[in-house]
Symmetry: C2
Subunit: 260 residues, 2 copies
């Protein structure tokens, strides 16, 4: 039997866990985090959980005071994932509330943690992507900059990628500038320089993205669709898969080329 962690307790993975009155399932009122763990240790765990708190604060959802690193470690041990690559998904919702949209004056948040085996990027097929036509990312919404539960547009883009034979989809924002991929941030290489869309263009606040920017390896710049298509190389970054070069975008294939 496998387990999930819910508000400090371990439950059987298949048992009903969330109440129907919870504003997470009802209204996507919450945020989440996806963190890689290797041999039982969450990678950049403090950065991940600090970001979760920051994104929750933007929605005015308090993050309960659990030791999330310890919870993740215990969950990995109990699920038999402490000696391999695993992904920790942490979900925070505003919890139950009375009917209606306005948040209750005092939130009783729901905090959920799940663990699953993580793929080894070295064993994956080459990364391919389309440019999503089914939807756009709304850079006018603060939700475009955080990892909120509102993943409907990302799902539409991922569905489109699946139908068009690619593994990922790059979302343009409402101005037609690149924002991010459905499940990753994006970087483009032009000669010796690396650029990534600014958060004002709808780029999610990714941990790997932030690390590359903080290390001075890349700069934020608006990337119109044409510039994206003309780049020398495109990279996807995510906590789960690290930095992966795109082998193909739409009909264009790329030479293998390390980060500048």
């Amino acid at each position: 039997m496998s387990f999930i962690w819910l508000n400090g307790a371990f439950l059987a993975e298949d048992a009903p866990a969330l109440r129907a009155q919870d504003r997470g399932p009802l209204l996507a009122d919450g945020v989440f985090d996806t963190c890689l763990a290797v041999n039982g240790a969450p990678e950049h765990g403090p950065a991940h959980f600090a970001r979760l708190a920051r994104h929750a604060a933007l929605l005015e959802i308090p993050l309960p005071g659990f030791d999330l690193i310890a919870a993740a470690q215990e969950l990995l041990a109990r699920t038999g994932l402490a000696t391999s690559r695993a992904v920790i998904r942490t979900t925070l919702t505003r919890g139950p509330g009375p009917r209606g949209l306005a948040p209750p004056p005092e939130a009783r948040p729901t905090l959920l943690m799940q663990a699953a085996p993580a793929p080894d990027p070295a064993t994956l097929a080459p990364a391919t992507a389309i440019i999503a036509r089914a939807t756009r990312r709304n850079e006018h919404s603060p939700l475009s900059r955080i990892k909120s539960l509102n993943y409907g547009d990302n799902i539409l883009a991922a569905q489109e990628a699946q139908k068009r034979g690619a593994r990922e989809a790059i979302l343009l924002n409402t101005q037609g500038n690149a924002a991010c991929a459905a499940a990753a941030n994006i970087f483009i290489r032009e000669g010796a320089h690396l650029f990534t869309p600014p958060s004002a263009d709808g780029a999610m606040d990714g941990i790997t993205r932030a690390a590359l920017l903080a290390a001075g390896k890349a700069r934020e710049e608006t990337i119109p669709e044409e510039r994206l298509r003309e780049a020398d190389a495109i990279y996807l970054t995510s906590s789960l898969l690290g930095i992966r070069q795109l082998y193909r975008l739409e009909d264009k294939t790329y030479e293998e080329c390390a980060l500048p």
Copy 2:
């Protein structure tokens, strides 16, 4: 003890109901409906559940074949709401899936129905609204036209209304044209004419809105913010509260004025 209806069974309202692997709570992968019931009978029930199926089809989520009118009636009876005004909330998610964004090849959807007492619009304080500045509605996304679970922007707008002392918030789309309110569609009156934003501008496909359009009482037209502010009257429509005139938008108050 009160009840909810879940995939054909009645459960105690406070019991955990949803699995943690459900793509509804994890990714807002689903749609919902809110329907008024008076004395045990859902109003325009067939139109509501047909719309739920239509919106689900847009996301390629199959609607399980339950008799939802009968389910609603039995739920109202069991919750003691069959002799008053009640709201029926029906939630459909794609159900559980493996990790990742791409939907599983065969969905096992989750269908949830909840009932709660509904307010009588005659007893409510006058309707007031702001124009939301915190976020915009993304008319480039098909989600803007359906009642998906992705209500994050609506919540941000409702939170802003609450802080600025109003009951509702009107969302502009990314072009600055009016789309809808956080929990209602909008209509404006100009002389003897009634207009509502077209679905291409991000208007949700509301049942009351559709009825007014089908009856030839209103026309769809793009409504820039200035035109919204200059209207002779503004009406909110929703299945729950019917047609309500705004008493105040931002600093402007309106004379009481029936629909043309």
